[in-house]
């Protein structure tokens, strides 16, 4: 008797589990999975794309956009300073151009696509579906707030709440910019799986028309992201000041203002 009951329960559980699976697969059509490590894909005859350097030629700039770029260029100095050389995230959309040629990681779940670039471990979180942060809680950042939805096999991502990106290499933009990206899977002529990436930047301050970006990513052959530690000069300077204090038998309580003061004393 107990064994029969147990068998019945098992059979019922199995049936329920199968039913649940069927229900899930019916409700959730399979979407492309972008999970994996990727690097820039170059097609024959195509130059290497980069987010470095000045704004790309032929941008449909407004007068305001031209002026802001000219003003920003005055800040670069003879060494042509760029934010990445100061351990600052590239920001959207420049990061998606893989400046410097580093790999990028995609981790996909039904409700979130996470994108991590090797440099600075710059991380984007794209929220897919109904669960979204209320608009008034979206803290502006260099990568903005990204909301995604599926249009067939294409993930369409709208990014807003960006900080001013006048220092972004190829595609400077204002904090009024909206970036719409389209991710889909494709193949090259050898049958290798690729991600097709398109972006359209709309910015009433910088551009008179949407600016388009197109890239393809291919699987990363050697398959590892290398940890990217970018030193923060001021943090380590502060630690050195405190080490000196401790060595002298004092409490290690120097503040960042002491770091600044030491620098100012020399100027």
């Amino acid at each position: 008797m107990p064994s029969t009951l147990s068998a019945v329960i098992k059979a019922m559980s199995l049936a329920a589990a199968v039913a649940a699976c069927v229900a899930v697969s019916a409700a959730e059509p399979a979407h492309p999975d972008f999970t994996g490590l990727w690097t820039g894909h170059r097609e024959a005859g195509q130059g290497r794309a980069s987010g470095f350097g000045g704004p790309q030629a032929g941008l449909p700039l407004t007068e305001e956009g031209k002026q802001r770029i000219a003003d920003y260029n005055k800040l670069l100095g003879p060494e042509r300073a760029n934010p990445a050389a100061y351990c600052v995230d590239y920001g959207v959309p420049t990061v998606m151009e893989l400046p410097g040629g580093y790999p990028i990681e995609f981790i996909q779940k039904p409700e979130q696509l996470t994108i991590i670039y090797e440099v600075e471990n710059e991380t984007r979180r794209i929220y897919i579906g109904d669960r979204q942060l209320p608009t008034q809680k979206r803290l502006p950042s260099r990568d903005g707030y990204s909301e995604g939805h599926w249009e067939g096999d294409t993930l369409v991502v709208k990014t807003t709440d960006l900080l001013d990106g006048q220092d972004q290499g190829g595609h400077p933009h204002s904090d009024k910019a909206t970036v719409v990206e389209r991710f889909s899977l494709t193949k090259d002529d050898k049958g290798t799986k690729l991600i097709s990436y398109e972006a359209s930047i709309t910015d009433p301050v910088y551009y008179t028309a949407p600016v388009k970006i197109a890239r393809k990513y291919e699987p990363l052959a050697d398959g590892f992201i290398i940890p990217y530690r970018c030193p923060d000069e001021f943090w380590y300077s502060l630690l050195e000041l405190r080490r000196d204090q401790v060595k002298e038998g004092k409490p290690g309580n120097a503040r960042m203002s002491d770091v600044y003061k030491a620098r100012e004393a020399l100027e």
Binding site: T39, G47, R48, A49, S50, G51, F52, G53, P78, E79, R80, A81, N82, A84, A85, Y86, C87, P99, G100, G101, Y102, P103, E118, V119, D222, I226, Y228, R229, C230, P231, E233, F234, Y236, S237, E240, R243, D244, A262, R263, A265, L266, E267
Partner: protein, 156 residues
Amino acid sequence: MSTIAVSTILRRLIVAVAAPALVLWGTLASAHHSAAQFDFGQRITVEGTVKEFNVTNPHTEAIVTVKDAKGTRDWRFEGHSASHFYRAGYTRDMVNAGDKIAILIAPRKDGGDGGFIQAFTVNGKTVGFGNLSPESGKPLDSATTSNATGSGAPKN
């Protein structure tokens, strides 16, 4: 404009000698340069003895003691990021203070001591980098064949 300040070296100097280190503090803001100051159309080889070799992000920096007709002095070199170094074949502790090193560099445009590391040979091992501008990401000339994360050693 001062020469390239080296953060890790700077920190060691602060610990070792407080007063001279303070003189260097003024250069903190210019510690990480882009590569606009180097002439990537040229290649020269510099030989010397390693004093510091810091494989770091966003750029690697090295100090090498060089003896030439002008005398003996320390040259500062800049190079690609740590990620690029490791992908190009660099391994931990490959280069140590006191090692003899030959470095192929893109020299400074102003003719000063230093340059951007294109390849180096130490203890019989060579590491070479792709021929892409670290600033523009674009090919610089046809002197080398490789991509940004490749390991092709320069031909010259």
